[in-house]
């Protein structure tokens, strides 16, 4: 990874966050999906816990296989999302970093990242006998419209009622607006940092952005999160100004679509560096940058803007929108090609990807490649197969 001084700050932030979550006696714990409106929880002093993040940590620490095997031993099929399997395994064995997650008092899940999370959270709700609140954000086959926004707003207001009832006190609207402002600021800082990738050579790469995702996912809506990304931005901007690239020599600049392959981060980093190829931009990390669209003044109806933000995420878009966005990124970031990770664990990201690749290549004239892998399960990953495909792809960029 590119060395950033801010990294130690992030480690400290995330460690403190987990310590508080594991030791708190006062604050309730809510497990929540990565794309859910966490601002409501912070407004009510509830600690959000992200099973997805935790599963990614397990894989990055090379602990996912043993955990998934424990889940499979308990009957969970290898066909289900590897994040879910990793977490189920951690829950069953109390294994993984920090010895598993603190048990939830309730669950919040939003379908903007997939419908599968409903199934995952249903399993958890049954296991812990805790309530599950779903914020359903239907897929945008034909883009956003008022019906979708109204539908989501009503659910967000119902979420307030749910939280108020759970906490036995009125929903803290005043605090909520403050949290929203912080959330928006953090998302903007994150996006601003990511867009420094337009600089040539890119001062960071997507593997860095995957690592630095932690706070924007988990602490979005806190001051610490804003401060952290300001710090990171400053450092990255400095590198951009001095034209210090994330790799010694940048010949190719590519986009990465889908989640990272968490258990292969180091190897892939070395591979790309050797090939003089920078992963400059990724649809995955960008998703949290898009959450800064909501405004925070009450008179602007923040609920509608918030609903629009949470509906309007890349993975919830129809293919027409996805292709347009990808083409725009290729143009704006001066990319020489793109990599699509056909991720066995993530169907909303992956199903239809072959067609997207074909159309995007045709539209932009840039080569693209689809690699078959998984975000968390090394057992379905082949170094040889993936690297052979990537080598051929990089060669094709060279001949363009």
């Amino acid at each position: 990874m590119t060395e950033f001084k801010a990294f130690s700050k992030m480690k400290e932030l995330m460690t403190n966050y987990y310590i508080e979550a594991k030791t708190t006696k006062e604050k309730p714990i809510a497990w929540i999906t990565s794309g859910a409106p966490v601002e409501f929880l912070f407004a009510m002093d509830i600690i959000p816990i992200y099973p997805e993040n935790y599963a990614a940590m397990c894989a990055a620490n090379h602990q996912s296989v043993e955990l998934m095997e424990a889940a499979e031993e308990a009957g969970f099929s290898q066909d289900i999302c590897a994040y879910a399997r990793t977490d189920f395994g951690a829950d069953l064995t109390q294994g993984g970093p920090a010895g598993g997650l603190p048990p939830p008092h309730f669950l919040v899940c939003s379908t903007n990242i997939c419908k599968t999370v409903i199934k995952w959270y249903e399993v958890v709700a049954r296991k812990y006998n805790v309530p599950l609140f779903i914020v359903d954000t239907p897929f945008l086959h034909e883009g956003l419209n008022k019906d979708l926004i109204d539908y989501t707003v009503r659910q967000l207001k119902d979420l307030e009622n749910f939280l108020s009832e759970f906490m036995g006190r009125p929903f803290d609207r005043e605090r909520f607006y403050k949290v929203l402002a912080l959330s928006q600021e953090a998302a903007e800082q994150w996006k601003k940092m990511l867009y420094l990738g337009k600089t040539m050579p890119s001062p960071f790469n997507s593997l860095d952005s995957f690592i630095h995702l932690g706070p924007i996912v988990t602490l979005r809506g806190t001051k610490e999160c804003v401060d952290y990304y300001k710090l990171l931005y400053k450092e990255v901007a400095e590198r951009a100004e001095k034209k210090i690239g994330s790799i010694p020599e940048e010949k190719y600049r590519v986009l990465w679509d889908n989640l990272p392959v968490w258990f292969k981060m180091r190897r892939l980093e070395r591979f790309f560096e050797e090939k003089k190829c920078t992963l400059v931009v990724t649809t995955y990390a960008n998703s949290w940058g898009g959450l800064g669209n909501h405004q925070t003044e009450a008179e602007n109806d923040p609920y509608e803007l918030l609903a629009a933000s949470y509906l309007n995420v890349y993975i919830n878009w129809g293919f027409e929108e996805r292709i347009k966005y990808l083409a725009q990124l290729i143009e704006e970031f001066s990319l020489t090609g793109f990599i699509m990770h056909s991720n066995r664990s993530c169907k909303p990201y992956s199903v239809g990807m072959y067609r997207l690749q074909e159309e995007l290549s045709r539209l932009t004239g840039r080569p693209g490649v689809v690699i078959e892998a998984d975000q968390n399960d090394p057992r379905v990953y082949s170094d040889a197969q993936v690297e052979t495909r990537l080598e051929a792809f990089i060669e094709s960029m060279g001949s363009n």
Binding site: K115, V135, P138, D158, V351, R355
Partner: protein, 370 residues
């Protein structure tokens, strides 16, 4: 008695072409699951249900990964090899992530219109109602465009009556199977249910009425083998029923999305279409793909087994179906608590070798028979 049903399911294209010509109605391919086909009927369309097929998979590999379920893959293969030329439009529901994206794939690949009942998975009732209202409105408009015919109230009521009758007759078969195990061979039973996927409902109803008359006159054959309830998404491949019949297994009830979960639905209430469709989607049988905490699958399945007097449960797992796979371990655990044995078989619609399944089911039967 079942020959006419096999005639249909073994000659699907021929059958659909015949009725398309006879009726002069555009064929609408209906993807899994719970799309209220009454709307298609009332718009003057010919609804044909697509629950997958057993085509050898080839072309689809260029469009869908092998980790997509064989329902999605085989349905797309059918269109890619030109086997669905007669289908003029596709009707989807947002049942799972694969089907949601599959609609996008269809939109990119084929010029045929697609419609979708986007199922609201919220417990915020007022939001669900108003959203579903807008969804139904858009589906109605889409259908009317495909068929160039307005959906009139009287046509919808008539469609509801006819489809309601189909399901009522199917429920009659289910009841007969529960009460008189072994009377209908498993394969014959599902041939009769499957036939309904492809026929105009009025034609299908006539066949079912005739079948009922024939079955009523039969003497019980009895059943010595184990009695099972089967749970899964799709009740294919049919070859497995041949194995069950051979092993003397009597399937006494099921929990298939295209079996009882659909068959159990009452006549669609069209007076208040939004309420009617809500009821149609969410009740009475729970489904792994539909979030509905008020209708828990666990007690439901336990009761089903007890009511049917079954000896055990066979989980019929179509590979890569995540909603089904997520539910299964806890469901099996619940069954264990109730001392109800269960076993899982992994199936793919395009599979050609059934030896492993036979061995597994046989072993399960031996356990049940002590």
């Amino acid at each position: 008695m079942f020959e006419p049903f096999y005639e249909v399911i073994n000659n699907v294209s021929k059958t659909v072409l015949k009725y398309e010509k006879e009726q002069g109605r555009p064929v609408v391919g209906v993807m899994p699951a719970y799309f209220p086909m009454e709307l298609i009927d009332a718009a003057g369309g010919y609804a044909v249900q697509l629950w997958g097929n057993n085509l050898p998979l080839g072309k689809v590999d260029g469009y869908l990964q092998t980790y997509c379920c064989s329902v999605a893959r085989s349905v797309l293969e059918l269109e890619l090899v030109g086997g669905a030329e007669m289908v003029k439009a596709y009707a989807f529901t947002s049942l799972c992530d694969t089907l949601i994206n599959l609609r996008e794939v269809y939109k990119r690949l084929f010029p045929k219109p697609t419609l979708e009942i986007s199922i609201p998975m919220t417990q915020t009732r007022a939001a669900r109602r108003s959203y579903l209202k807008s969804v139904i409105q858009s589906v109605v408009e889409g259908l009317e465009k495909v068929t160039r015919q307005k959906i009139r109230g009287d046509a919808l009521a008539e469609a509801a009556r006819i489809r309601g009758r189909s399901r009522e007759l199917q429920r009659g078969l289910y009841k007969m199977r529960r009460q008189r195990p072994g009377l209908i061979k498993n394969k014959d039973f599902y041939a009769a249910i499957k036939t309904g996927f492809f026929l105009p409902p009025i034609v299908y109803n006539e066949m079912l009425e005739t079948l009922h008359l024939g079955l009523d006159g039969l003497e019980d054959r009895g059943s010595k083998g184990p009695k099972l309830v089967i749970s899964g998404l799709v009740f294919d491949p049919m070859e497995i029923y041949g194995i069950l019949d051979e092993l003397g297994v009597a399937v006494v009830d099921d929990d298939f999305a295209n079996g009882w979960r659909t068959v159990s639905k009452d006549e669609l209430r069209v007076g208040d279409l939004v309420e009617g469709v809500t009821e149609f989607i969410f009740n009475p049988a729970p489904c792994c793909c539909i979030y509905n905490p008020d209708n828990d699958r666990h007690p439901y399945l336990v009761d089903k087994v007890k009511d049917a007097g079954a000896d055990g449960v066979l989980f019929w797992y179509i590979k890569f179906c995540e909603p089904d796979a997520f539910d299964r371990p806890q469901l099996m655990e619940r069954l264990r608590e109730e001392s109800i044995p269960s076993v899982t078989i992994d199936v793919e619609l395009s599979m050609t070798s059934f030896d492993a399944i036979k061995t597994r089911v046989n072993a399960f039967c031996e356990i049940l028979e002590g």
